[in-house]
C-alpha cells in the first residue's frame, strides 16, 4: 500500500516539485501515473524509493513511514519493493540467470531457494531459453522482461515501474504491460509511470495525472479492450 498525505517536495534550488499531494494506492491495485516531463513523476518515484525525503507531509509505503525511517532501515524497506527502470539496469557482466539470482544473494537467501526460485521467475516471463544469455544478446523487450523477473524474484508487495516501455518497440510495449497486468492479477500492487497515452487508453484502469506537481486527475477509466 502506498499513501501520500499532503506531501510537498521543494528542492534546495527552490523548485517545488510536488505540491500538497495526497494519494492512496491500495494493495492489489494497478495504477498508471502519467504526466509530462518535469511534472513531478520522477520526484514521486524517488520519494517512494526513499532516495529523497518529503519537505512536508507523510509518505507511507508497505507499512513503513518513510519520514521516520532510519538510514539503516532502508535496505529492509527496499526488500519489500520491486523496481523496473526505463533503461533496464541489468548488469552487463552477468547472465540473465545471474542478474536475477543477484537480488536474492543480496538479501542473503539460501542457495537452495535461489536455485528453485530463479528458474521459476524466468519461466514466468517466458525467457527459459535465454537463461544463460548476457544482456547484450537480448532485445529491448527481452531485457525488460528480465528486469521484471528481477523485480519479481523476491516476491515484493509492490512493484514500481518507471517508464518500463520507454526504451522498447511500441508493439512490444503492450506485451510488457500485459506481463505487469498478469503479475497484478496474482496480488502484487503495481505503480507504472508512463507518458504513452496510447498504452494507457488501451489498457485503462486507474489513471493518476500529475501536472506541475499536483494531481489533476485520478480516476478509473475503461480500456479499449475492456469496453
Amino acid at each position: 500500500m502506498v499513501e501520500l498525505k499532503n506531501v510537498s517536495v521543494t528542492y534546495s534550488s527552490g523548485v517545488d516539485a510536488l505540491n500538497n499531494v495526497s494519494l492512496k494506492i491500495n494493495d492489489g491495485d494497478f495504477a498508471f501515473v502519467v504526466g509530462s516531463s518535469g511534472a513531478g513523476k520522477s520526484t514521486m518515484i524517488k520519494l517512494l524509493l526513499k532516495e529523497i525525503n518529503a519537505t512536508s507531509g507523510v509518505v507511507t509505503v508497505n507499512g513503513y513511514n518513510l519520514n521516520k525511517m532510519k538510514r539503516r532501515q532502508i535496505p529492509e524497506f527496499r526488500r519489500t519493493l520491486g523496481f523496473v527502470f526505463q533503461d533496464f539496469r541489468l548488469i552487463p557482466s552477468m547472465t540473465v540467470y545471474e542478474n536475477i539470482a543477484f537480488v536474492l544473494r543480496v538479501i542473503d537467501a539460501p542457495k537452495k531457494y535461489i536455485r528453485k526460485r530463479v528458474p521459476y521467475v524466468i519461466s514466468l516471463v517466458g525467457l527459459q531459453a535465454k537463461s544463460n544469455s548476457y544482456p547484450d544478446e537480448l532485445s529491448g523487450g527481452e531485457k525488460q522482461r528480465v528486469a521484471i523477473a528481477r523485480a519479481l524474484v523476491n516476491d515484493p508487495k509492490l512493484i514500481i515501474a518507471d517508464e518500463p516501455t520507454g526504451n522498447i518497440d511500441p508493439e512490444l510495449s503492450y506485451e510488457i504491460v500485459e506481463l505487469l497486468k498478469g503479475i497484478n492479477d496474482c496480488g502484487t500492487t503495481i505503480l507504472m509511470v508512463t507518458h504513452e497515452h496510447d498504452l494507457v487508453r488501451h489498457f485503462g484502469g486507474r489513471i493518476i495525472n500529475i501536472t506541475d506537481g499536483e494531481i489533476v486527475f485520478d480516476e478509473v477509466i475503461g480500456g479499449i479492450n475492456e469496453a
Partner: protein, 301 residues
C-alpha cells in the same frame, strides 16, 4: 550472514582485484615499496641494536703506553690502572703480542708487515675491563690523567657512533614512513574509486534491491586486503634476497667484521617468520583499512 554469503562476497572481492588489475598493480607497487622501506629500516634498527649489544659485552678499554716508558714504569702503570674505581680486570699486552695478533687478523697486509722487518711499530699496552659500561667515559679521563699514556681507545666510542646512527636512521625512517603512508592512502583511495566506478551500476542496483552497507562494502574490503597481502609476500621475497646478499657481502669484509663482530649481524633465518608475518599483516591491514575508509567516502550508501 550465512557462510555462503560470506564466500560470495569474498569471491567478488578477489574477482575485483583481477578486474581492476592496473590499479591493483599500482597499489601493490606502492604498498610494496612502503613495506620494503619500513621493513628495511626496522631490520637495520635491530641489527644496530644487536651490534651495540655485542660491543657492550666487551666493555674494554685499550690503553697504549708511551714507548719511552721502561719496564718498571709499565708495571707501575698496570698497578695504577687496577686501582681506578670501576676497573675489574687489567691485562698486559706486549707490543710483540699485539703485532702477532695483527698479522693473524690482517693476512692481506702480511707483505707490508714483512717489509717492516723486526721494526715493530706498535707499543705496549693494557686491556682494561670495566664492570659498568656507564663509567667508561669517566675511567677514560682518569687513565688519560696518568703519566706516560700514549693513547686510550674504548669501544664505547664506536657504540656512540652506532647510537648516533640509530638515531638518524630512526628519524629518516619515520619521515619516510609518514610520507609513504600518505602516498599509499592516496593510491588505495584511487584504486577504490576506480573499482567503485567500474561497478557503479551494480552498486546502484544493489542499493535498490535492499543490499546492506556491509554487503556492498565487503568486496572492496577483500579487494584491498588481497592486494595488501600480495604486497606483503612480495616485500618479504625482496627483503629475503636483499638481506642475504648483503649479509654475504658484509661477512666477506674482514675489516668490517672485525669492528662489528661476526655474531652481531642477525641471521635472516632467525627472523624470517617474524618478517613474513609482519609484512603480511601490515600489508593486509593497510590495504583493507584504506579500502574501508574510501568506500565509505565514495559510496554514498
Amino acid at each position: 550472514m550465512k557462510l555462503s554469503g560470506v564466500k560470495y562476497l569474498v569471491d567478488q572481492g578477489v574477482e575485483n582485484v583481477w578486474k581492476n588489475k592496473m590499479m591493483a598493480f599500482a597499489t601493490f607497487c606502492v604498498l610494496l615499496i612502503s613495506l620494503l622501506l619500513v621493513g628495511a629500516s626496522v631490520i637495520f634498527y635491530f641489527n644496530i641494536n644487536s651490534m651495540i649489544g655485542g660491543i657492550s659485552d666487551k666493555n674494554e678499554i685499550a690503553v697504549f703506553i708511551n714507548d719511552k716508558a721502561d719496564k718498571a714504569r709499565i708495571t707501575e702503570i698496570g698497578q695504577d690502572l687496577a686501582k681506578i674505581k670501576g676497573v675489574s680486570e687489567v691485562t698486559f699486552e706486549s707490543k710483540e703480542d699485539a703485532f702477532n695478533k695483527m698479522l693473524v687478523q690482517m693476512p692481506e697486509y702480511e707483505k707490508i708487515f714483512e717489509s717492516l722487518g723486526n721494526d715493530n711499530p706498535l707499543v705496549d699496552g693494557y686491556r682494561v675491563k670495566v664492570s659498568n659500561i656507564d663509567e667508561v667515559p669517566q675511567i677514560i679521563s682518569e687513565i688519560r690523567g696518568l703519566n706516560d699514556i700514549y693513547y686510550v681507545k674504548a669501544s664505547q666510542e664506536f657504540v656512540n657512533v652506532l647510537k648516533e646512527l640509530r638515531r638518524v636512521v630512526t628519524m629518516v625512517a619515520c619521515a619516510i614512513i609518514a610520507a609513504l603512508a600518505v602516498v599509499s592512502m592516496i593510491m588505495i583511495s584511487n584504486t577504490t574509486k576506480a573499482s567503485i566506478f567500474t561497478r557503479r551500476e551494480e552498486i546502484q542496483i544493489m542499493k535498490y534491491v535492499g543490499a546492506t552497507n556491509s554487503f556492498i562494502r565487503t568486496p572492496f574490503f577483500v579487494e584491498g586486503m588481497v592486494t595488501g597481502f600480495f604486497s606483503g609476500i612480495g616485500a618479504f621475497i625482496i627483503t629475503w634476497a636483499a638481506y642475504n646478499s648483503l649479509f654475504e657481502l658484509l661477512t666477506k669484509q674482514v675489516n668490517v667484521m672485525n669492528v662489528i663482530g661476526l655474531g652481531n649481524i642477525i641471521q635472516f633465518s632467525s627472523i624470517r617468520v617474524y618478517v613474513l608475518l609482519s609484512y603480511i599483516i601490515a600489508g593486509s591491514f593497510i590495504g583493507a583499512l584504506g579500502s574501508v575508509i574510501f568506500t565509505r567516502k565514495h559510496i554514498n550508501v
